[in-house]
Symmetry: C2
Subunit: 353 residues, 2 copies
């Protein structure tokens, strides 16, 4: 039996999990259209994840899907806590602006309910589990394998790819700097130097036989064929699905993706304390210079403010996650996105032959 | 007759001009092997360029080649001059470290001898002229066309691509963030948001029928086939040729490219006042926070220090230009690089068919 997660689906198209924008409806639509749907477990409790999985299974039966988990982080040091308190004071003004409040990280927030989620995924195995922000220990990988689950590690550099391959995961999700949302980088440097996707594939592909899932800015069938010829087995797309009716991104977020007033996407830590790509808006401009790189506490401080801004339809206060190709995202059902991608892939192969 | 500069050579391989590392020997080797060699006119006088062209023609006869010109900039404002003086005082310490001196920009340095170079290229036409850091006026384009020269504009965003296409250039060099050396961005923002190559191609290709030359991090034949399937007519490679014997990069620069101690490439303005990608070394670490974005004066301040560091074999004081794929650069003749690329291209097409 193949241990290649990109062989589980008919098409070489993987849906990016997108915490806060994906969900069972989108994953079901992508899997239903022949791709590999993914649920985002990040920022969700094990109980909420269990409910998502049940909902997805009710929609797709025995068809394949994946669950992406955020790896736990260290507890904030006293110095980091002081920097968080300063950021919280500054955020109070932003909260007032949108009628929200500054959040309070729950005790243990840095674990993101990892232990309970792993227990859930071992007790009720799913076809694929992906990891973001690092790697679990070898025992977790062995347990998932024994449960019949294929594992995928998100990597953003050749060094991370080597660590993941040495651990024995079944595939690598090779994420370029173009990607929307969080960079899956293992550490959290103040001065990141992320690789562009095509170069990252060129550096990693010769070093491993593992299947590679290429991620970052992919919006077209031409790009999917490009990453395949560059060594990937499949392409992962997130922003391409953000405006779909099945996406649970807020209406204000979806509208911003189609608004020509937004001109740049940038990597910022302003929303979570980790680098993530979104449209540059007022929140980013006001806060990116002062935000401490202390994940995930910053997310929990900011989260209620984002929610209040979304309810008011104020894109200026939202995390407008977007990959660099966001202008090509369309408001159409996920199945239509995939039909178009498949047509574009065929045309690209024909033109190149 | 075709106006597609990528049809002038047998292979879809263009050599990046690389001011300070390219030159007649490298351009001749690339053109001789079936690619399109390029001379860098940036930072050189019109007389020096004329000598380079004569030397190249003596080596390749009537075979095709290009000349890349840096576009002129505005004269530094009084406020910019004050910032330059401050930077010069800080650089004095760096100069001492390497036994060099801080340079003095010559009057008119911001023009980079543009008018004389344009006059030269009109009086003694060359097959291709490329532009970096913006666009000339319509009269210059018309005059070059009348002289039988094909023109290429370097662009780093869809907006720049539209401006270049509207001006009537014959091709676009689409440069991604992965590229080594200078980003050709028209303006010089304090907070750049450069696109990854594959996404940039996806955004620009549907908007124009102009031939696209893809640049940025390309080191392998697989990548060349990838950018072709993504819409490019040819690929431009610079770092892939940096360690060649025909490259005039300093010995210390060539050695640094093979030194595992260098772990990251970064975009920095420390060496010229414009964003350019090189290996992160001591000079970058010490100066990037203070450098004013006042091109090209910063280049002329720093240039003698770099020269002194090169003579001492001190990579810590050099501009170690490198694209993100630098670890794949090999110390072999340019013709061997091209033979390998062609083999890899054939293998990639075969594997993908």
């Amino acid at each position: 039996m193949s241990t290649d997660p990109t062989r589980l689906s008919r098409l070489p198209i993987v849906q990016a999990p997108m915490a806060g924008a994906g969900g069972p409806a989108l994953a079901a639509a992508v899997t239903g259209a022949g791709g590999l749907g993914f649920l985002a477990a990040g920022y969700r409790s094990a109980d909420a994840l269990a409910a998502d999985i049940a909902e997805l299974r009710a929609l797709i039966g025995a068809a394949p899907f994946g669950v992406n988990v955020f790896m736990p982080h260290h507890t904030a040091t006293p110095a980091e806590q002081e920097r968080l308190r300063r950021y919280a004071r500054s955020l109070a003004r932003a909260a007032t602006r949108y009628g929200g409040t500054v959040g309070t990280p729950a005790p243990g927030a840095e674990r993101d309910d990892w232990d309970a989620k792993l227990a859930l995924l071992l007790a009720h195995p799913v076809p694929v589990v992906g990891f973001t922000f690092g790697l679990p220990d070898a025992a977790a990988i062995a347990a998932l394998k024994a449960a019949g689950t294929l594992t995928v590690a998100t990597v953003t550099s050749p060094a991370e790819a080597r660590l993941a391959a040495d651990l024995g995961v079944d595939a690598l999700c090779v994420q370029g700097a173009e990607a929307g949302g969080h960079q899956g980088t293992f550490d959290n440097p103040d001065d990141p130097a992320p690789y562009g996707l095509l170069t990252l594939l060129a550096l990693i592909a010769p070093e491993t036989d593992l299947p590679l899932i290429a991620a970052g800015g992919i919006m077209t069938g031409r790009q999917i064929e490009a990453v395949r010829i560059a060594g990937a087995s499949a392409a992962q797309l997130g922003t391409a699905f953000l405006r779909c009716p099945e996406s649970v991104a807020s209406a204000a977020h979806k509208a911003a993706l189609a608004d020509p007033a937004f001109e740049h996407s940038v990597l910022t830590r302003a929303f979570s304390g980790r680098w993530a790509r979104g449209l540059r808006n007022g929140f980013v401009a006001r806060h990116e210079a002062e935000v401490p790189g202390v994940y995930p506490y910053v997310h929990h401080l900011v989260s209620p403010i984002r929610k209040a801004a979304a309810e008011r339809g104020e894109p200026d206060g939202l995390a407008l996650w977007a990959g660099q190709g966001w202008r090509l995202a369309r408001a159409e059902p996920a199945a239509d996105v995939i039909t178009r991608l498949v047509d574009e892939m065929a045309a690209a192969r024909k033109a190149h032959a």
